[in-house]
Symmetry: C2
Subunit: 327 residues, 2 copies
Amino acid sequence: MGGDEAPRLIVEGARLAADRDGMHVLLVGRPEEIGDLPSTSSGSLSIKAASEVIAMDAEPATSVRRMKDASIVRAAEAVRDGEAKALLSAGNTGAAMASSLLRMGRIKGVSRPAIAVPLPVFGGTPSTLLDCGANAECQPEWLVQFAQLGAEYNRARFGVETPRVGLLTIGEEAGKGNELVKAASALMAEIDWADRCGASYIGNVEGGDLLTGVADVVVADGFTGNVVLKAMEGIMAITRTEVRAAIGSTAEAAATRPIVDPLLDPVFDTLNAGKTGSAMLLGTKGVCLISHGSSSAETISHAIRTAGQIADDGVVDILRASIAASA
Amino acid sequence: MGGDEAPRLIVEGARLAADRDGMHVLLVGRPEEIGDLPSTSSGSLSIKAASEVIAMDAEPATSVRRMKDASIVRAAEAVRDGEAKALLSAGNTGAAMASSLLRMGRIKGVSRPAIAVPLPVFGGTPSTLLDCGANAECQPEWLVQFAQLGAEYNRARFGVETPRVGLLTIGEEAGKGNELVKAASALMAEIDWADRCGASYIGNVEGGDLLTGVADVVVADGFTGNVVLKAMEGIMAITRTEVRAAIGSTAEAAATRPIVDPLLDPVFDTLNAGKTGSAMLLGTKGVCLISHGSSSAETISHAIRTAGQIADDGVVDILRASIAASA
């Protein structure tokens, strides 16, 4: 029920995932709004009824506590109960987080779950930025744990054997940053990262390093991570719009489109946040993926496949084992 | 002496500013490295000797205290002593800040000077983001003052009659953010902005709003501001590179360049941080402008003209009067 054109686009994305990838998709929400399910040539679509919807601008924690029949709450319960192996939401991010936390529960030893977002890297595997908004205010120890969760996730998801972990701050030299980062930096420097999670710690990274692939995992508090993520997404969108408008601004230039567009499309696809991949909440006992509200049906279908993959790969168990081993 | 190709490019930029705009430029540094000054058809170039140079990676405050004959220190003294009306540096930002603060002094009533950076807005006047790195750790009251300084600056610099001021955070609703932003938000909401500095307060803005022009002034702590600024600059650079590479990747597409490039150049110029304009340190008793180390001679010449303009427009006096009136 979440997303700018839900449930229509979500159902269409689910149909694509069923048809193409044989996925079995459980659509949680109001049956009367979901309507008749389209037929699929493989996989399956089914509905789990939920009568309430947590709006995009609703206060997440309170809503989750009060609206026991909300679609996002029921979806988290479906994962908890083994009825589904992963949850995907394009709705209220806070509500998806709170539902997962309250219904699936937190992995033992995890201080705070964090939102991990894949960042595009041209000619390389995506980097992982976390936390992108689950925790606006952080303790230094949490950042250390984000690094560990991010490294395990990055390896499991993108196959990076020894993820390079960086700490997002405002200068290259150790000790540059605000109080939180300085304290986290001191803690990070003392850890044997290879031993803890097969990662290597490369120290400080700056804002300008985010899309260069210099680090596989970039750690930030949820305030900084969210602001910087949204700023990057905003600029990518503006750049796409302005470049396209420029090329369309004269008839002569517009005539080059058949030649130029097929070359530019992959660039802009890479820079399109929605297409790079869904965010995952790391630290809960079940898979919770979060897509943009503006996701297309195509993007939703990719996210559904990714959610299944993450479940099949046992990513939650990997995170659980890593945290347990370092407790 | 500061900048990736200093002093050569700086001298060339100064020559352009003298020739084109009749600027009188005092070059502060090692005469033997600056070499023979080029002749100019208008304006003038001259040298003020300084024997030391604070390196890009040197610790700013200590360096400024110890290296009394550093070029940046002597340049700040030249402004203090009325020998120059503005300071421009493409070198170590922290050293430029510390020199200005220690040699020019702080405007009475200003808690902390802040770095204000113009952000490009397509089809509009630039927005001002501050603080972009002077203060990694901030008090809520400082953010309120940054808003006031930024509004006065935005009006004086870009002619915006009633600047709209926003607070950078992670959600639209009041009360969204970290502890600092929540406290600052409560303070900002109680102020009569029209009365204080002829501004209007529009509340929260998110990362995605930064280049849309929804706010003329965006207030952040120096950690967040710096990270987000560098992230945006990084993406702009990557996008330029990738779009150009894509268009150059086949002979057929490369042949469209004479048609397409003149349309794309203005887009990329707008997105080129160096070209949008120099950063200004707001809150010191003299004009201190900071350019990118990678600035071209062309960019340096623009920055020199801007520095002169800001001095002629009495921007420091405007800031001083505003702070005095609201004390």
